[in-house]
Symmetry: C2
Subunit: 344 residues, 2 copies
């Protein structure tokens, strides 16, 4: 990919400020856990796998200059930062998964000097990032087997390089199919309110010179009816053990529409998106975001005062509407409860 | 209603400039057919019934100062203006219906002096407007019978007073139900790209102090799944003889979603929206609008250059997804082909 959404450089985390795309590609240099919290909260960095990596770096930034020789004191501080970062965004499982993984690592190193533990945290964080890179490549390869020459694929929001360590999940499938020489068209739903489809996915697809058409979210049914789409591929923020999948708001509507038009509906996500503690989608917490995201656009108010706003950031697609979940290990088909257990 | 979207005043047509709502309520004074063409084309006035009335006034403005004593010369000019105004927006049938009605009127008056014919055109135009007012009231009454206390209704785009002579079609049902003392909640989908739901419908509902919640278009499936909606009511731009209904883009997706969730889906429209020459929705011409409507928002570009844009202004809901069409004469249920013939 021609860009790196998140990099560890000179004791700082260099991230692309995704809120300024597609207008300009600019970077932020994050130096503290608080700055990382803010960057995630305000969607300067977003996308479930990227949030996991970013939070892991945030945790290291929060602990790296903490002075103590007592493991107990260190561990309390460490857990406080985990609690703090975990309160940032509630839906994407990768954040909690990354925190748990670092917590396990610290557990393994508890007999070692604090500086060694810190080193282990950084090492594990870089490992999470590197693994994500390989994972995305594998998702791309596994998923590309589903793509045929001349396919027209609808995707929603951004499940691309920007949402991961750099190659994406849903978009990895598209990138890989293109690398394999398949000619594909991609339709992108703009993804209100924050337009991640229009701003980020179209930008990524433009870098790769992929034939891209942007539509408003409410046009999805129409383009399906017109026969313009033969596959839908989206990412995921959290997947329950029965396959119910939380993803960007609008994904559920797309899944219903795809089902109505007999169009396969694929979810592409790393295993780290599966939450082993959650049995069905009903238990996935859904983030409610600021009404201002809908009330205002580019500083202009688009609705009168007094109008209430409902702004859930995600919705949950029931497993019955999902044709297949594309993971780095394999394509997971129904029955999901059984087959997900196998890949975990 | 506390506002008049279109008024004949001192030989001018006074219209609300709908593009400046909800920020301010400002008026335009239209004096020529060309100005009316522009006002309709740029959506300063929009909504199928309102377009019909506006085009009728536009036709009168185009002919009222035309000097001739020859009927043949007059009739040529008259038909040229009809052709011109008919090229303005292709989907809403009311425009063509109004033009035909004035053409018939001129046919009846062909033996009369030109000034008398002109008077007859203005009189017929004012009659179209007045009839629309009564029609909207009747639609409201007929439709309100379907509404129960505590209903939560989803509507799309603007089928309100602004889209008609002043009381609306889909919103007339809501206004009338409220006048009957029914407590109702209304959910409004914002209606990208031009946000007629957020800007216009929320504004109208705010005037009437109706409990209103704005959602993004892609949230419709989710609010239905959550059980927040028990009826969908929309307007129509053109209805075929079999009940297939063209309406603002996004309506088709809502109809599929409503069907999936077993929520009744109602179309509210005057008889003048039925096109007696069109047998099915496949024959309804769909306006494609400027890509700039999607590429830019409030002067800000939201997607990279090179991304293609697909921007149909309308879609067609097949009759199978429509529970009932609310007209001023009666509630029209399936089978539509038979029952529409009866009301025409």
């Amino acid at each position: 990919m021609p860009f790196a959404p998140i990099e560890w450089q000179n004791n700082k985390v260099k991230i692309i400020d995704q809120t300024s795309l597609p207008k300009k590609l600019s970077y932020l240099y994050i130096q503290t856990a608080e700055e990382m919290f803010d960057a995630i909260k305000t969607l300067k960095i977003r996308g479930a796998p990227a949030i996991g990596i970013a939070a892991a770096f945030g945790l290291y930034l929060g602990i790296k200059d903490y002075k103590t020789t007592s493991f107990k004191t260190f561990d309390k501080k460490f857990k406080d930062i985990i609690k703090y970062l975990s309160s940032c965004r509630p839906t994407a499982y990768n954040l909690f998964g990354a925190m748990e993984r670092l917590q396990d690592k610290v557990g393994q190193f508890k007999k070692y000097p604090i500086e060694t533990i810190k080193g282990a945290i950084l090492e594990e964080t870089l490992k999470i990032q590197m693994e994500d890179n390989k994972t995305c490549q594998s998702i791309g390869e596994k998923g590309a087997n589903l793509i045929k020459d001349a396919d027209a694929i609808l995707t929603h929001c951004n499940a691309g390089g920007l949402a991961t360590s750099g190659y994406g999940t849903a978009l990895a499938v598209i990138f890989k199919a293109k690398e394999q020489g398949k000619k594909i068209k991609v339709y992108v739903s703009e993804t209100r309110p924050l337009l991640q489809g229009a701003r980020l996915t179209c930008w990524e697809l433009a870098q790769e010179k992929i034939d891209t058409t942007l539509i408003c979210d409410n046009m999805a049914g129409e383009v399906m009816k017109e026969g313009k789409i033969n596959k839908v591929i989206v990412g995921a923020d959290r997947i329950a053990l029965n396959g119910d999948t939380a993803n960007k708001i609008g994904t559920y509507s797309l899944a219903v529409l795809a089902s109505f038009h007999n169009i396969p509906f694929y979810v592409a996500a790393p295993i780290s998106t599966f939450d082993p503690k959650i049995r069905t989608g009903e238990d996935i917490p859904i983030e409610q975001r600021d009404p201002g995201e809908i009330e205002n656009f580019a500083g202009k108010r688009i609705t009168p005062k007094g109008t209430k706003i409902y702004n859930p950031a995600f919705d949950v697609v029931p497993n019955s509407l999902i044709t297949c979940i594309i993971t780095e290990k394999k394509l997971v088909y129904p029955s999901y409860r059984k087959n997900i257990k196998k890949v975990l």
